[in-house]
């Protein structure tokens, strides 16, 4: 081992193979797309190279004799509060390659998670809690601009008739949607699964910036088509294929830069859908080159409304950054019907680690600030707010809605539902779980029907839990939770944090 380069010594994981249990069947060799397991012809047995293991646990899950355990490498650096192992290892890697360190999925660093510091209320005595098993409990949500008032006229029979015409809305049966994950970053099997699951659930999924394969147009009523700075796969039919159009200005995992899809992941179908050459990197520009200011965004919003004949709401997705509130206010005034706020814990198929772990702010703070700013300016009704980034469970969703979100986008949770283990190597295109890969052999590990059912199960489970929590608070409709921060109390937050979140401390 003396000649081993330093970065191979300090690998993250250790493969623990029980020699008594291992039957040398080579399942692990076939399953590992990173070649961590291999057949040693001389020894006539399966061996492994720890330095290649990414910690995805695919081999462990499929080992027929349960002979494998993937553990953290217990070799330790000398303890140093400043030079923690992650920095040391990064330097070794960069000294070898001279490159930007690429990562996948959401940031693993210790960014404060305000959802953990917010607690929910429940009814006792003075108002009854409502039991969703016995009483109606409504989660239906409409996304889009609302008028500030409705006007009616009297019909012939004296009954009122609505005069006001509402602008286009998206109807969701539960306030959850599958967030933008482009075809290419994840494979076609999962796009079909998302499209079908969203359709059956009465919610929407987002195409991401990679276009929409024509065979999925039939799910258009439950599809939000995205337009990002690369304009991949954007054409007239695409813009008219969905239930809404989303302009992606920023992404929480990588504010300030555009999308990355490595050439390794661009096969024929992706190339055709995205309208880019086979095997070439698809790198979106950092800004939209037709949006250098807010008035330009207004033009794009209205260009898209024109292109879709004002039949569809237009959404604008921004990353949660320092001035999110002022930016969102501008976005709403520019005509957006929906504002998506993507916080810094959001996932990604590929992003420079430095940006993912250091740029942006947590979604809770941005969401609370945006909701309050729009109300202060009297324009909250002119756009719906969708929160995104790292919503781990139904309670996170309930808290987001109480802070002011109309709905929540989930993506990492959806991938976990189909088997992702957060190994964070999506950018390699070698995903052993068949998710973030377009390699036909790997992609077929995802059966669209199974994946669809898992996604449906997840959304149904969360919806039931949301109903339980809602009922516990004495509410029987989601709109009475939206922006109802009185249902939240903070534990252990500073006065500044509570003022931004607009919540009282627990006990008050």
């Amino acid at each position: 081992m003396l000649l081993t380069p330093i970065n191979r010594n300090y690998h993250d994981f250790k493969i623990d193979r029980d020699k008594d249990l291992c039957i040398n069947c080579k399942v692990c060799v076939r399953q590992c797309s990173y070649q961590a397991h291999y057949w040693d012809e001389n020894r006539k047995k399966v061996m492994h190279d720890n330095s290649k293991c990414v910690g995805c646990h695919r081999c462990e899950a499929l080992c027929p004799t349960a002979a494998l355990n993937i553990r953290q490498n217990d070799s330790e650096f000398r303890t140093n509060a400043l030079w923690r192992p992650v920095f040391i290892k990064n330097i070794y890697k960069q000294a070898d390659t001279g490159g930007v360190l690429l990562t996948g999925m959401g940031s693993p660093v210790d960014i404060p998670i305000y959802y953990d510091k917010l607690l929910l209320d429940a009814s006792q005595v003075t108002n009854p809690s409502i039991d969703p098993l016995r009483e109606p409990m409504e989660l239906r949500t409409f996304l889009g601009a609302k008028p500030d008032r409705l006007e009616f006229e009297k019909g012939k029979d004296g009954k009122p008739i609505l005069k006001t015409k509402l602008t286009p809305q998206i109807q969701l049966e539960t306030p959850l949607m599958f967030s933008a994950m482009s075809f290419g970053s994840i494979n076609f099997n999962l796009h079909i699964a998302m499209a079908r699951a969203a359709t059956k659930l009465g919610i929407c999924y987002n195409t991401g910036e990679g276009g929409l394969h024509p065979s999925l147009y039939m799910y258009g009523k439950n599809t939000i088509v995205q337009v990002a700075s690369g304009r991949f796969g954007v054409h007239r039919d695409y813009l008219n294929a969905g239930a809404a159009i989303e302009i992606k200005i920023g992404q929480g995992a990588k504010p300030g830069i555009g999308g990355h899809l490595p050439g390794e992941k661009i096969n024929a179908k992706v190339s055709e859908t995205r309208m880019v050459p086979l095997g070439s990197d698809a790198i979106s520009p950092a800004p939209h080159h037709d949006i250098y200011s807010i008035e330009d965004l207004l033009q794009l919003i209205y260009a898209l409304k024109e292109a879709s004949e004002y039949r569809l709401p237009v959404s604008v997705k921004i990353a949660a950054v320092h001035n999110a509130a002022a930016i969102a206010s501008g976005v709403v005034r520019a005509g957006a019907d929906i504002v998506v706020i993507d916080g810094m814990r959001g996932g990604t198929g590929a992003a420079p680690g430095m940006i993912r772990d250091n740029v942006g702010i947590p979604v809770e703070l941005a969401l609370a600030a945006v909701d309050q700013r729009l109300r202060d300016e009297g324009i909250r009704h002119r756009a719906s707010i969708v929160a995104a980034s790292g919503h781990r469970c139904s309670a996170d969703v309930v808290k987001a809605i109480a802070l002011g979100a109309d709905a929540v986008y989930i993506a990492t949770a959806a991938l976990l539902a189909v088997g992702c283990t957060l190994c964070a190597r999506c950018y390699t295109g070698k995903c052993p779980w068949g998710i973030a890969t377009n390699d036909a052999e790997l992609a077929k590990r995802q059966n669209p029907e199974v994946a669809e059912q898992k996604l449906i199960n997840l959304i149904q489970a969360w919806s039931h839990e949301i109903q339980e929590m809602l009922g516990g608070m004495g509410l029987n409709s989601i709109e009475s939770l939206r922006g109802n921060r009185d249902k939240l109390r903070a534990v252990g937050l500073s006065q500044a944090e509570m003022d931004i979140l607009g919540v009282k401390h627990a006990g008050k």
């Binding site: 108002n127 009122p160 009475s480 921060r485 009185d486 003022d499």
Partner: protein, 366 residues
């Protein structure tokens, strides 16, 4: 408006209650003895920390003037309030509200009434652009928020509220309610669980000629108050009922919704019901819920709303609080308990429990 600093740091009163209302459709005058007796029957629905009455038609000679009822902690507070009122209104009459000493009522504030007409736009120090009613609302809010120790607890024409800390029958005695005769009465008995008892916090809650008595806890308060703030209403009184009053003012007076439609904002039909409606109706209710979701009153409630022409009762949409309605001749009664109605009108033509979320709207015929 922009929410004031730490607007979320409110303390809110939680209470259960008893309510009673009666209207004479031909505007026949009903003596104050009736609501007072009815409330005494529902004594146990309160705990002595709040009772009150609103009466319509009690100032026929001053019917064209705004009758401001004020409660003030000190003479100084009354003087400060009077100074503010003088700037905005012409005072036609200024007098103490008649009271009598009652053993059970302690620490009563100074109660005073003014009969007023608003100054013309050019003569007002501020609020020059507002129409008459918006102007009156703005001045009431201004006094309640800015004049320390003074509180306007009723501000309509030819009507007035009488309320305070005590059982309703004691409050009735204190304010000499039996001396008034009205064609609409609403009354309230209160069971707060967490307030020391503040005279202003008792019901009815009023604004212009709206008066509201309310039994229930509004679980959607947190969003209702924020929605109201967007529409320039500041909640300062720490009660659920305040949001009902302001929402009524916003939806009915400012947005021009009918009482029926307003009831459907407060207690909307369920989506599965809306899905089964004819297309035009479905479109209307969908728009109503989508647009006014933040104004929905969620949680248990029974409310009675009085105004110069109407008595209006409404339950939440799963009927988590009692409300019974009864008719006798030209009179219609609404109450938490039938016993209270039977106490004052033993023989009734018809008695029924309105369905959850179905408003009962009774208008005067003259």
């Amino acid at each position: 408006m922009k929410a004031p600093l730490r607007y979320h740091e409110f303390d809110k009163d939680i209470s259960g209650c008893g309510i009673f209302g009666v209207i004479h459709k031909k505007r026949g005058l009903i003596p104050g003895h009736m609501p007072s007796c009815a409330m005494a029957t529902m004594h146990d629905r309160g705990n002595g920390l709040g009772g009150g009455f609103a009466a319509y038609g009690i100032y026929p000679e001053q019917a064209d003037k705004y009758a401001f009822h004020l409660m003030c902690e000190t003479e100084g507070a009354l003087e400060s309030a009077r100074e503010v009122i003088t700037k905005f209104f012409t005072i036609h009459d200024s007098q103490p509200i008649p009271t009598r000493k009652v053993l059970a009522i302690k620490n009563a504030p100074i109660v005073w009434r003014f009969f007023l007409t608003p100054k013309r736009k050019g003569e007002r120090p501020t609020f020059r652009d507002l129409g008459e009613e918006d102007f009156v609302v703005a001045v009431v809010m201004h006094i309640n928020a800015k004049v320390h120790g003074a509180f306007v607890f009723s501000s309509g024409k030819n009507m007035g509220a009488f309320k305070g800390v005590g059982f309703p029958e004691d409050i009735a005695e204190f304010f000499r309610v039996e001396d008034y005769r009205a064609y609409i009465w609403t009354a309230h008995n209160r069971f707060p669980t967490n307030t020391p008892g503040w005279w202003g916090g008792a019901h009815p809650f009023t604004l212009l000629d709206w008066s509201i008595v309310h039994n229930g806890e509004i679980s959607s308060y947190g969003i209702n108050m924020r929605y109201l703030c967007e529409n320039d209403y500041l909640c300062t009184l720490m009660t659920d009922t305040e949001v009902v009053a302001y929402l009524l003012d916003l939806l009915v007076r400012r947005h021009g919704l009918s009482r029926k439609l307003c009831s459907k904002v407060f207690a909307p039909p369920f989506w599965d019901e809306i899905d089964r409606m004819p297309p035009e109706e479905k479109r209307m209710y969908t728009a109503l819920r989508a647009t006014y979701g933040s104004a929905m009153l969620n949680g248990p409630f029974a409310i009675l709303v009085g105004s110069s022409k109407c008595l209006w009762g409404l339950n939440d949409r799963v009927k988590l609080r009692p409300l019974v309605v009864a008719e006798k001749g030209d009179m219609v009664f609404m109450s938490s308990e039938e016993s209270a109605i039977r106490e004052v009108q033993p023989d009734l033509d018809r008695v029924w429990m309105p369905k959850a979320g179905e408003p009962v709207i009774v208008e005067t015929e003259v």
